[in-house]
Symmetry: C2
Subunit: 200 residues, 2 copies
DNA sequence: GCTGAGCGTGTACACTGTAAACCTAAGCCG
DNA sequence: CGGCTTAGGTTTACAGTGTACACGCTCAGC
């Protein structure tokens, strides 16, 4: 038999293909990229990727999972920075926005795109759960610091929905042209925090 | 020459095709529907739709524009109901949510799907502008009623981003399972309104 | 009644994702 | 060392896609 593929061989190929796919998907959209192009980008024949991924959908899922993983890491990196709950929460929000604006295509791939059967790709749901956990942790920080009152998970979701909504509208070009997106985020965040502050 | 197509003929055909496409797109997604199926649904040959639409993309744009038009009408219908600014704003929000939840596929087609060159379809941008105007008008109502302080356009966008974000996360199944979407909307709306209320 | 144009259709093509047969070269056994 | 076996990669093939193009049918105007 031929040289068997070691696990690191497989992982290496998958990684290279995911990286290539990420760039191509970002530029032309998943439907604008063909398996033949992906294969050519790695210098292999069109059918070779099928040995490493079930089908094109699995490649898309892998690309999205990889995006979520980088995203989660970016959020988690902010945990260390400061011990003040509010600062940390704000830093997390900034990291969130920065990621979305620096990787708009990845962000859209991750959130906009509704892949029908995401549940079939465990690493995708896991990476996505990691990101969510980060957000909830930081909402918890807000509550602990006495800056907000209520269920931390609910608070996290309020802030998340708000951030996400503003971002996708911005990325889709749907915001009114006379609205500055970053001012929108700032004012929305401020209003929500004012609204959640304990009466004390 | 044969019986020339009157404008109403053309409009009629376009309407029927849009209606058929709306159902099929909702069920299978735009990519899951072929021109041949669309044509078959109207009982014509596969190439006939090309006399009424430039290409498949134009059909998608028309379906989306039609969605936006219905959406705008649904929002505008709430203008008449009550003279109280807050009630009216709340009713508009309810109408927004109702539309999104009763037509989830249309809503996703309208907002999620980022069609690359929407600017090429004027009726699409116009219908979408109508919907936005409705929202701003109702934010103005909130300000007039003394329930909120600030630029009505900004306030409209804050509420919109929040609503939209929550809805797309819900429709995409990304909300944590222990979060009730309608409770999320209620609490978010309440928090924002508290945060925007004038100091009195 | 003829003509010519506009409408719908049929045919054709380049391209897609991917199944299946095929080739190649390397590890094991004798 | 030689042959068998088999995993990894390629080639071929196919059904199905969007749509360009050219063909006929059918009627309005002369």
């Amino acid at each position: 038999m031929p040289r068997l593929l070691t696990d690191t061989d497989v992982a290496g190929f998958r990684e290279r293909l995911i990286a290539a796919a990420e760039h191509l998907f970002a530029e032309h959209g998943p439907d604008g990229v063909t398996m033949r192009q992906l294969a050519a980008a790695l210098g292999v024949s069109p059918m070779t990727p099928y040995r490493y991924f079930k089908d094109k959908d699995a490649i898309l899922a892998a690309v999205r999972a990889s995006g979520f993983a980088r995203f989660a890491s970016a959020l988690e990196a902010e945990t260390a920075d400061s011990s003040d709950g509010v600062d940390r929460s704000r830093a997390t929000g900034r990291a969130y926005v920065r990621f979305a604006l620096e990787n708009p295509d990845a962000y859209r791939l991750m959130f906009d795109l509704t892949q029908p059967n995401e549940a079939d790709y465990p690493e995708l749901v896991e990476a996505s759960a990691r990101a969510r956990a980060s957000m909830i942790r930081h909402a918890q920080g807000l509550v602990n610091a006495g800056e907000a009152e209520g269920d931390p998970r609910m608070i996290a979701h309020i802030l998340w929905a708000n951030l996400h909504g503003g971002l996708v509208l911005q990325l889709a070009g749907k915001l009114s042209p006379d609205i500055d997106p970053s001012a929108l985020r700032r004012e929305a965040f401020a209003a929500i925090l004012r609204g959640l502050k304990p009466k004390g």
